[in-house]
């Protein structure tokens, strides 16, 4: 910023004009990105919403009130929460344990291991859903929340190991050396010295997995089919399939309720300094 400020007088008017053009271009582009979202907000408070964008004649919370039932909203949201927290716990636990030897010890197979993991991060998960389904048939894991949690946890594990290892690398080894001299085992050093120092990093990884699992549609759509274990992503789709042509307002209201935690958590994780651009985590 300082460089820009000092350079400004040198170029004078040209710089100001280019800044003004840039501002106008950005405002127009931002409007294009925001425009489709306005429908969701307008329809959710409109008593007779359609797919048209209309300014509601009377503001109403009817749509929100109408979906406040256990069957339609609370059970699916609870299932989403169980799936998301479960996956995040599985992933973060396994990633922290795996990241410690990868970060702290010199090992011959470390590079090939990390590259294999990176390879796993890159593969399109959509492509393996058909084989996962038939594997789950064989293992008798279909329609099981626990099975789905472990599968989802595993799919985010590669990226989580990369992120966690990078966060752990930035904790200086010298701090643990003191613990080692005092005779602490490496696991004790991990839990009492390293983890407390990387709490923001752990939160970023946890939130990342939580958001991905909360928002995922395809995995539970394939693996869970009884209404009692389906998360909001799937139940909202079923609702759209059945009443999508009638209850636009309720659909919009449900979508907003379901999106709220995502927006809040995203803001929290940005405040913690997390960057969810995958490539950032994979640059190493």
């Amino acid at each position: 910023m300082a460089a820009v400020a000092t350079a400004a007088p040198a170029r004078g008017a040209g710089k100001t004009r280019s800044a003004r053009t840039a501002n106008i271009v950005l405002v127009l582009l931002a409007a294009c990105f925001l425009l489709p979202l306005t429908w969701l907000l307008a329809a959710s408070v409109n008593a007779d919403a359609s797919y048209e964008l209309a300014i509601p004649t009377t503001l109403t919370l009817e749509n929100f009130a109408a979906i406040m039932t256990a069957q339609q909203t609370f059970i699916p949201l609870l299932n989403s929460f169980i799936l998301a927290v479960g996956s995040a716990l599985v992933t973060v636990t396994a990633a922290v344990l795996a990241a410690y030897p990868l970060s702290r010890y010199q090992m011959r197979f470390k590079r090939p291991f990390m590259y294999t993991i990176l390879f796993g991060t890159c593969l399109p998960i959509t492509a393996i859903m058909v084989p996962v389904y038939s594997l789950f048939v064989q293992l008798n894991l279909l329609d099981s929340l626990a099975g789905t949690i472990f599968f989802m946890g595993a799919t985010f594990l590669p990226i989580a190991i990369w992120m966690t290892k990078n966060f752990m690398d930035s904790v200086p080894v010298s701090l643990e050396e003191a613990a080692w001299i005092d005779g602490a085992s490496s696991m004790k050093a991990l839990f009492y010295v390293v983890l407390p120092l990387m709490r923001p990093g752990l939160a970023v990884v946890f939130i990342f997995v939580f958001l991905e699992a909360w928002g995922n549609f395809f995995v539970p759509f394939i693996l869970l089919f009884s209404p009692d274990s389906q998360p909001a992503a799937v139940s909202i789709f079923r609702f759209f399939d059945e009443y999508g042509g009638v209850a636009y307002g309720e659909l919009a209201a449900f979508s907003i309720l379901y999106s709220l935690p995502v927006i809040v958590l995203y803001i929290v994780s940005r405040a913690l300094g997390g960057s969810f651009a995958l490539s950032g985590a994979m640059k190493g």
Partner: protein, 320 residues
């Protein structure tokens, strides 16, 4: 600290910093080996999870594509080996080259051209704009990206629907009503995915441009280089590797897009937007032919593997 910076720190550590070595080199080999085994123990949960839930399905995919596995009935529990039959069907199925082509169009249009170029343009313009304007615009772009995929898909559906917003807007300009989802399903999907995914490229390029030292472009300006010249001869070459990384990643992410397409067009009308993920899903779960669906999945895995390997090689070359 951002993961990107942390990653930089990793690279430095691998080279410079002493890492804790095995404490006593003279201890008997057996106990050293035991010690090393104990040290690797924490890797176990991750390795087991990855082997069972990622390695397992991948191997299972190769095996399953040679069977007649079905969705229900006897062939679901006890699939029979049918050799290359599924692949023979695949090669004679006219839907397969069509789906391959649609997948290519979708990746090229929405990711390689759309998200990539728009993301870069946004990041470049943001550098010149007022900081507050840039931050607000960035938030608008990111909003479409943080929403759960199913919600983003509904919004896209409502936007392109016959009575939806796009036709309202073109109507204001006096243009006739177009049924986008029926007449131009792929075009609608490409734009929907640009709207949804540009934030990812934008953030990558913002990070990359931040690492370009301002003095270099400043001195080029003093030497009389114009805006376009600076971009072409200085900025773009300096973020070359970020461009390559970004292209690879968005290609991989877009290749597997299912939800957006499934919700907005359902692959239709009449398979006009049935990309490979949709085709695999339809064959496996609507027509009940898991074995055939798995063969399509194997093709997708192989395409993904080619791009992944290319991406990893690129990263390694940059490091060495």
């Amino acid at each position: 600290m951002s993961p990107a910076r942390a990653a930089g720190a990793t690279a430095a550590r691998d080279r410079d910093q002493p890492v804790r070595e095995a404490p006593r080199p003279r201890t008997p080999p057996a106990s050293v080996r035991l010690r090393q085994a104990v040290r690797l123990l924490p890797l176990l949960p991750a390795v087991v999870l990855l082997l069972v839930f990622l390695g397992g399905p991948i191997l299972w995919a190769f095996y399953g594509s040679f069977t007649d596995a079905g969705l229900t009935g006897a062939s679901a529990r006890n699939p029979e080996w049918i050799g290359l039959d599924n692949y023979r069907t695949l090669l004679t199925d006219p839907q397969f080259p069509h789906s391959l082509w649609l997948t290519f169009l979708f990746v090229l249009g929405s990711a390689v051209i759309g998200q990539n170029c728009l993301g870069l343009a946004l990041a470049l313009v943001m550098q010149r704009a007022n900081r507050v304007v840039a931050a607000v615009a960035g938030t608008c772009v990111v909003a479409a990206w943080v929403l759960p995929e199913i919600v983003a898909a509904f919004i896209a559906y409502a936007f392109f629907f016959r009575d939806g917003m796009l036709n309202q807007l073109t109507g204001l300009a006096g243009l006739p009503v177009v049924d986008w989802l029926y007449e131009y399903p792929m075009l609608a999907l490409v734009f929907a995915n640009i709207w949804r995914g540009t934030a990812f490229s934008m953030m990558n390029y913002q990070a990359a441009l931040n690492d370009v030292p301002p003095e270099i472009t400043e001195s080029a300006t003093i030497d009389g280089a114009g805006g376009m010249q600076r971009l072409r001869f200085i900025t773009l070459p300096m973020i070359k590797s970020s461009i390559a990384t970004n292209l690879m990643l968005i290609t991989l992410l877009t290749l597997g897009t299912f939800t957006l397409i499934y919700v907005v067009t359902g692959g239709g009308p009449l398979n006009a937007s049935t990309t490979l993920p949709i085709m695999a899903y339809e064959q496996a779960f609507q027509y009940g032919d898991i074995g055939y669906g798995t063969a399509i999945a194997v093709v997708m895995l192989l395409i993904g593997a080619v791009f992944s390997i290319a991406y990893i090689r690129m990263l390694r070359e940059r490091k060495d």
